[in-house]
């Protein structure tokens, strides 16, 4: 994992230097794509995020091609796309999707969607984000109350499992949100790092009662009974509300920090070892036998440009997978690469294999 990211970092730096020339070199192909897309007339998008409508407006303004975007959950879009492709009556052209494990085990192997990486960006986008193509990274972090604490009261994730913080971590419910299970899988992958962090904190090696230090951590975290939520808006509010004597810590998307002003919250980010949050990818895929394949490809391309990504990346805590694009000035780091390995990134295939077991592991230890 760490090696991958190092490679990605290097690739990214080189790509950044080359990218300006690359875009112009490909313009003939781009022109052809634009012409074909315009001939098709429209794009139908099933999307994981309602902001697709905003991106669609920009796309129509630029290319004159309307985007019919519908927000739906991954379960819904999977069901629809599978039915459409199987019945030969395909309506959707392109999907925006969160559930990477499901994508790589069901939709891609089943031939329901195709991975398309725009030619001119193939070198720019880090290899780890190319197959399946990531268009957006969203960062979740551990946050604390800046009114009560001058700096984060903990420095190591193992402290979350101490009695002092029992029932004082607020997070999304793993029974309802698959992103938490993906994070657990990444935690398992980081078992060695967690064991080292334990020793660093307590000065003695971790005594395992489970197969690895990752499971040991999840077990102790579950046993310390975090408060669980459906939506992370409330987590940020619970952590950041002013006037609290013993405010909790929270695990929520960094984007919530945009509400610090409007909701008068006192929120800060915890720099923890060995990880300080989660990096959650969102994917874009072209549907197999899409009625408007070129318009779909052009839209995928558009999402990886400054204006196409802006509906998401103009906010805190969201990054395009195209490292050349800017992000919100309030972000702790200007691009994904600089977060280094401080964020958990899960492996889709491994999550697909482990998620049932991990969910049960959580449930049985959370009693």
């Amino acid at each position: 994992m760490r090696f991958n990211q190092a490679v990605a970092g290097i690739a990214l730096a080189t790509a950044a230097a080359l990218s300006s020339t690359a875009v112009f070199a490909q313009s003939a192909e781009m022109d052809a794509l634009i012409a074909a897309a315009k001939a098709e007339g429209s794009v139908v998008a099933y999307w994981h995020s309602s902001r697709v409508s905003k991106a669609g407006e920009g796309f129509e303004a630029k290319y004159g091609i309307p985007v019919l975007g519908t927000k739906m959950t991954d379960a819904e879009s999977t069901e629809k796309v599978v039915r459409e492709v199987e019945s030969g009556n395909v309506q959707a052209d392109i999907i925006g999707y969160d559930d990477g494990p499901r994508l790589v085990t069901e939709l891609l192997p089943g031939g329901f969607v195709e991975n398309y990486v725009p030619e001119d960006l193939a070198e720019t986008i880090p290899e780890s984000s190319r197959d399946p193509l990531v268009y957006l990274w969203q960062v979740s972090i551990f946050g604390y109350n800046t009114e009560r604490y001058e700096e984060c009261p903990i420095s190591n994730v193992w402290q979350l499992t101490e009695p002092e913080w029992a029932s004082k971590l607020h997070m999304l419910d793993p029974r309802l949100r698959s992103t938490q299970i993906q994070a657990f899988s990444a935690i398992e992958d980081r078992a060695d790092g967690l064991a080292a962090a334990y020793e660093e904190l307590y000065g003695k090696p971790l005594e395992l009662t489970e197969d690895n230090a990752g499971l040991e951590f999840i077990k102790r975290l579950a046993a310390s009974k975090p408060i669980l939520y459906n939506e992370d808006v409330e987590i940020a509010a619970a952590v950041g509300a002013r006037g609290q004597e013993a405010p909790p810590l929270g695990l929520y998307t960094l984007g919530r920090h945009r509400e610090i002003e409007s909701k008068n919250l006192a929120l800060g980010m915890c720099p923890l070892t060995p990880f300080q949050g989660i990096n959650q990818p969102s994917y874009v895929q072209v549907v197999a036998d899409a009625p408007h394949p070129n318009a779909a490809r052009l839209f995928a391309h558009y999402l990886l440009t400054e204006e196409g990504a802006a509906p998401w990346t103009a906010d805190l805590g969201a990054y395009s997978s195209n490292p050349d694009l800017t992000s919100n000035a309030g972000n702790p780091f200007p691009n994904v690469a600089e977060w280094g390995d401080s964020l958990l990134v899960s492996d889709n295939a491994r999550v697909a294999e482990r998620r049932g077991d991990l969910l049960d592991f959580w449930i049985t230890n959370n009693r």
Partner: protein
């Protein structure tokens, strides 16, 4: 006409010809058959679909297990009943559900009985207005009391704005803020009006001559109650118990709002989280369990109707009971109890919810803290009157519940017509029972069944999930019992004679319906429409799994607001529902010159 002579059967041809001529002149068979088919599809097919999805591999699980989607599997049953997580998914929630249903029902029946006794048979102060005030909790959506409770007792365990008590400096302990105790209290307070209505109704129907005879023979009032009135109330008590238990089993909003923060799960909330976490197979198994409870209730109901009928023969039209004149010493506490229940169950929650929507910071009673901001907008956010979500969901609620109610009313009368005109036939029995089944089916189970059936296209029926049609359909089926009951009893009162007179004068079927039956059944139609409309406006557990962005209703929108920590907007939404429903009830009482009790008549 339906009694065929069994001893000498005419030849088949003659019988068929007779049947055909009967069908032409008397379309009740056709109506009955069409209704039976439609009901079979809408009530029984969803259940079959749930059974199917409980034993068939989903695509996701098939990929993992190396099987193909739709393969037969018992893994979902194993997961629910015997796996290591069975305790968390099923057994603990089952125990919790039983506990909550038992205590909430007992409390609700007790409240209902005592209040009915006080209001119908004593001279407590304000007894006539209490008859209306005490059913207000029934007119509020089921999450009203739960959100009002949260507004007052919420503590630092959950985020968002603090609860009123906490804002005043008192931090309520977890056991008071969340979990079984508040769930039982809230459910009892929201379901006692049922018991109250049915007991009042029953008490008013008991022949007062029985009491007078006892009093003449020297029986004291408490002897009259213990030996005469209470035994006569046994059938009512049974049906109240049944209805209340059926409702508490399927209830979703209250345990969701008050149980989730402390991990107190009921079967309904476990079903919801199974579905949300992408385990439809597990959800189907849970729905089957809830459905079995429903079937058990239906069988119990049939058995009771058969066995307790003898008690009802007593119900003649006696004189109106003279209210017992309580001494001042007894009158004061008795009145206090009745008014106290009203204050706690209806006035208090409404006040709390209203207050929360006009205060900037909860618990600060300074004049400067009051503002209409949550209603009119301002402070950089939209208010109730201009929030696109609320306006959309208000429109959806009105149009969905409205169309469902109209369809329901018409269908209900049609069922009534078919059942009454085809007495004794198996078709009549089938219609009666199947149209009543949804009444006792826990809402969550029914919704899960509909979701399974209509999530994907099946034959000529397209995938309805995400459409308004699905919501209308599920409401029509679920509220049909109200409408068909009122339709059956209304049709009973109209003999065949007016219709036969019309036939003699050459009126066809449609002329008879529009010129004779229609005008006669105007009132019944209004009741058969308004009752489903009221239920539709306050429905949550039935629709919470079926709404999608764009088809949100007021009730689901208020839950969404609660999820996002906007307690004030959630409360405002519930108040809107309450006001609409109360207006409807008043309208109905004016039009039909009767009370809600007559229509509910469980």
């Amino acid at each position: 006409m339906t009694t065929t002579d069994r001893t000498t059967r005419p030849p088949l041809q003659a019988r068929l010809r007779l049947l055909l001529s009967q069908l032409v002149s008397e379309p009740s068979y056709v109506i009955g058959a069409v209704l039976a088919l439609a009901l079979a599809y809408l009530v029984l097919a969803p259940m079959a679909a749930v059974l199917g999805s409980a034993v068939q591999m989903t695509r996701m699980d098939a990929v993992r297990a190396g099987a193909s989607p739709g393969d037969l599997t018992f893994s979902y049953f194993q997961r629910v009943f015997t796996s290591p997580v069975a305790q968390d998914i099923f057994w603990t929630p089952l125990g919790n559900t039983m506990t909550v249903a038992l205590f909430a029902t007992a409390l609700a029946v007790l409240f209902g009985l005592v209040l009915a006794m006080l209001v119908t048979s004593t001279n407590i102060w304000g007894r006539s207005i209490l008859g209306f005030l005490l059913i207000i909790p029934y007119m509020l959506p089921s999450q009203a009391l739960a959100t009002a409770w949260i507004t007052v007792f919420k503590n630092r365990r959950t985020g968002g704005s603090p609860g009123m008590l906490e804002a005043l400096g008192l931090t309520p302990p977890d056991w008071l803020a969340y979990g079984p105790l508040p769930i039982v209290i809230c459910l009892a307070l929201s379901y006692f009006p049922f018991a109250f209505l049915l007991f009042s109704n029953a008490l008013n129907k008991i022949d007062t001559q029985l009491e007078e005879a006892a009093v003449t023979l020297g029986a004291r009032p408490h002897i009259v109650w213990r030996r005469i009135l209470l035994p006569l109330l046994i059938p009512t008590t049974m049906s109240v118990l049944l209805l209340t238990v059926a409702r508490t089993l399927g209830t979703f909003a209250t345990p969701y709002v008050l149980g989730t923060p402390v991990g107190y799960t009921l079967l309904s909330t476990s079903l919801y989280s199974s579905l949300r976490s992408g385990a439809p197979g597990v959800a189907a198994v849970l729905a089957i369990v809830l459905g079995l409870f429903g079937v058990a209730m239906l069988l119990l109901d049939i058995w009771m109707v058969r066995n307790w009928q003898r008690f009802i023969t007593v119900g003649g039209k006696g004189g109106k009971r003279e209210p017992a004149r309580l001494t001042l010493l007894a009158r004061f506490p008795a009145s206090a109890v009745a008014w106290g229940v009203f204050l706690i169950a209806a006035f208090g929650p409404l006040l709390v919810m209203f207050l929360s929507t006009i205060m900037r910071e909860p618990g600060v009673f300074a004049l400067s803290n009051f503002s209409l901001g949550y209603w009119t907008g301002g402070d950089g956010r939209p208010g109730v009157f201009n929030s696109p979500e609320i306006l959309l969901s208000l429109y959806n609620s009105l149009s969905i519940a409205g169309s469902a109610a109209v369809i329901c009313g018409v269908l209900g009368l049609a069922v009534g017509y078919a059942v009454v005109r085809l007495p004794g036939s198996w078709l009549s029995g089938f219609l009666r029972q199947v149209s009543f089944l949804p009444y006792l089916m826990p809402g969550m189970a029914f919704a899960a069944a509909f979701l399974t059936l209509f999530a994907v296209p099946r034959g000529p029926v397209p995938a309805l999930y995400g459409s308004i049609t699905l919501l209308i359909l599920v409401m029509v089926v679920t509220y049909l019992p109200y409408a068909s009951r009122s339709g059956i009893s209304a049709m009973m009162q109209v003999g065949r004679e007016p219709e036969e007179a019309g036939m003699v004068l050459g009126a066809g079927f449609f002329a008879r319906i529009t010129r004779i039956l229609g005008p006669l059944q105007k009132t019944a139609l209004v009741t058969a429409i308004i009752l489903p409309f009221i239920s539709g406006m306050k429905e949550l557990s039935l629709v919470v799994m079926l709404v999608t962005p764009g088809t949100e209703l007021l009730t689901t929108q208020s839950l969404r607001f609660l999820d996002y920590g906007h307690t004030q907007l959630a409360n405002a939404t519930i108040l809107i529902i309450g006001v609409v429903v109360m207006l409807l009830v008043l309208l109905m009482q004016k039009v039909t010159k009767s009370s809600l009790a007559g229509g509910l008549g469980g």
